[in-house]
Symmetry: C2
Subunit: 352 residues, 2 copies
């Protein structure tokens, strides 16, 4: 079946583009001697996580425990969860998960460390813990290398915990500042007798500049596997590299300059990402998806010389591909425009 | 179990508030003599659709065929699909659905009408078709009453189709203009021998002003069952009326003025709805959810005298509740803060 014959809306991944994105990233990481620990949030598919490991990834990253459980069920054995896991329900599940695969967790506060320490008390199988560092991203994380060291000492003092290092979700476009922060943390930790085994850096936008983050021992890009309009706007490849498209049908042409697609915020996701419009229509590059309702994508055709007819299928490169993966139950794989397989998005919608 | 003891993120519906929203709307509709055909997109739950029918709804509205199929499976028997259904896969399913429940479909173009006509040719069981009218909303729909009449004639000429009337998704805050459009259409149709049996008007924001849309025979509000921050901003009730909340945990307090919730765009949805912040934290009304990443809600606490601690549970009224329902597999029902039941969101994520 041709990709444009799929019932819509649907999502399709061009396997050749995806493989090219993957092999380029792994070759780059090998070249600079840094490990890759891909973030599976972009695809949420065990088969693709296994592919990343086969290509040389040191392990995977899952943001949620539920995603890690699905990946463990599928045979993934080395999983980082860079998220504060809080509360007895999650700690029970973490305990069960850590008994069957290698799990690395994280913390940015004494409260989170205390939770891990109460559940993991066996020095014979210590739980590795990374400290999250806010290197300028303004999300979670300790605010200074000194605060990192204070928390590292608490982890080190807990018999069942193993202080394994640090990680950061870095601010985009500031690799030098990130490196300065991490280098300072690394030096302080070494001087204090708590050396950092793992220094994990994240994010796809700056991935091909990560050679400047010399303190990092591993990198956790996610979006690089598919890429999207936002990554392209950040300078990470071109629109041609975007492997995932949303296939949609033109369901209405109410006026000469307006089309309506059957892909709205339930298919394309509402993340604007500070971009003009809600996606790039490949065959109508001048068209602008001005508004998304849940089931309607409203398109301004005023810039288009050629205009789509009712019933026509179009392919849209989404602004932010990770959130699109979370809206579909399956993704179709294509080669040369032909559907060659379908993968279940097994870790879709796992919020806890 | 208390709602604040749920593992997070989760969604909870206060049954008393929901019932109050429902009974108020049904009483209002009865009072002005207009039928209600609630849009199930807000809850996507067959049990709640059945409750709406038990309370007197004339039928239900589903935006997608897949939603209608789930509702038909659950015993709903009168379903409007106000969406152009295009392509053989959907027409096959529509044919099957129309053989087991009463379905009303819609069209805004000759192409869509032609699709229905090719599949439905039996005058013994004609398919009722409404014409979508763009009364100023700028989405789908014919652009004038005259264009409506042209299309009505095409439907009337098809042996297996039954021209049943019109519907509109109206622009907000312009009930007088909507009424003028519909009254003109109604008069034109009557003069032309094609009277409108159904004139269906939509939207929750103006629901309590729908008495001014005197031409309407039915109304299709959706969000009224739960309400949300956007509806409140439109003047539809108060924050106290909002029945659905997202229960979240404070997972980080990186600075004195910043908290991070485990509810990001995967739980609260990224629709900003032109509101300040991504939701209203009930116990911290001065807090502003400034940024959503997929799994992180970043909160500015600078306006808060009292501030939440790490591990604390909070309840958030989302900006747009319909898109939140689409992100969760189940919803918990509560009474006086206690969880009294859990409903599966059976029509979640049905895009086709």
């Amino acid at each position: 079946m041709h990709v444009l014959d799929l019932d819509t809306p649907a999502i399709a991944v061009d396997r050749t583009k995806m493989m090219s994105n993957l092999t380029r990233a792994h070759a780059f990481a090998d070249g600079i001697g840094v490990a890759l620990r891909p973030h599976i949030k972009t695809h949420k598919i065990p088969e693709l996580a296994r592919l990343q490991v086969e290509l040389g990834a040191a392990g995977i990253t899952c943001q949620k425990l539920g995603e890690a459980e699905v990946m463990a069920d599928a045979g993934l054995t080395d999983i980082l969860i860079p998220y504060n896991l809080i509360g007895s329900a999650k700690l029970d599940r973490l305990d069960a998960l850590a008994r069957r695969v290698d799990v690395i967790v994280s913390a940015d506060s004494a409260e989170t460390v205390q939770g891990y320490a109460t559940r993991f008390g066996d020095p014979g199988r210590p739980l590795p813990v990374l400290i999250e560092c806010d290197t300028g991203g303004g999300r979670c994380g300790v605010q200074s290398p000194a605060a990192m060291l204070d928390l590292a000492r608490k982890i080190d003092a807990a018999p069942g915990l193993d202080f394994a290092g640090v990680f950061t979700y870095p601010p985009r476009g500031r690799v030098d500042a990130v490196e300065a922060w991490l280098a300072q943390a690394r030096a302080l930790a070494e001087r204090s007798g708590l050396p950092l085994r793992i220094v994990s850096n994240g994010g796809s936008p700056d991935f091909y500049r990560v050679d400047k983050v010399r303190s990092a021992t591993e990198h956790r890009p996610g979006t690089y596997i598919y890429s999207d309009r936002m990554q392209v706007s950040f300078g990470h490849g071109t629109l041609e590299d975007c492997a995932l498209t949303v296939v949609a049908t033109v369901v209405s042409r109410p006026t000469a300059e307006r089309a309506v697609l059957d892909a709205g915020s339930k298919a394309l996701a509402a993340d604007t990402c500070a971009l003009p419009g809600h996606g790039h229509i490949i065959d109508y590059p001048e068209a602008v998806i001005t508004t998304l309702n849940e089931e309607h994508g409203i398109v301004d055709l005023s810039g288009c010389a050629h205009k789509p007819r009712i019933g026509e299928r179009v392919r849209v490169i989404p602004n932010h591909v990770c959130v699109v993966s979370n809206l579909f139950d399956e993704v179709h794989l294509t080669e040369d425009g032909q559907v060659v397989g379908t993968l279940k998005i097994a870790a879709r919608g796992l919020l806890r």
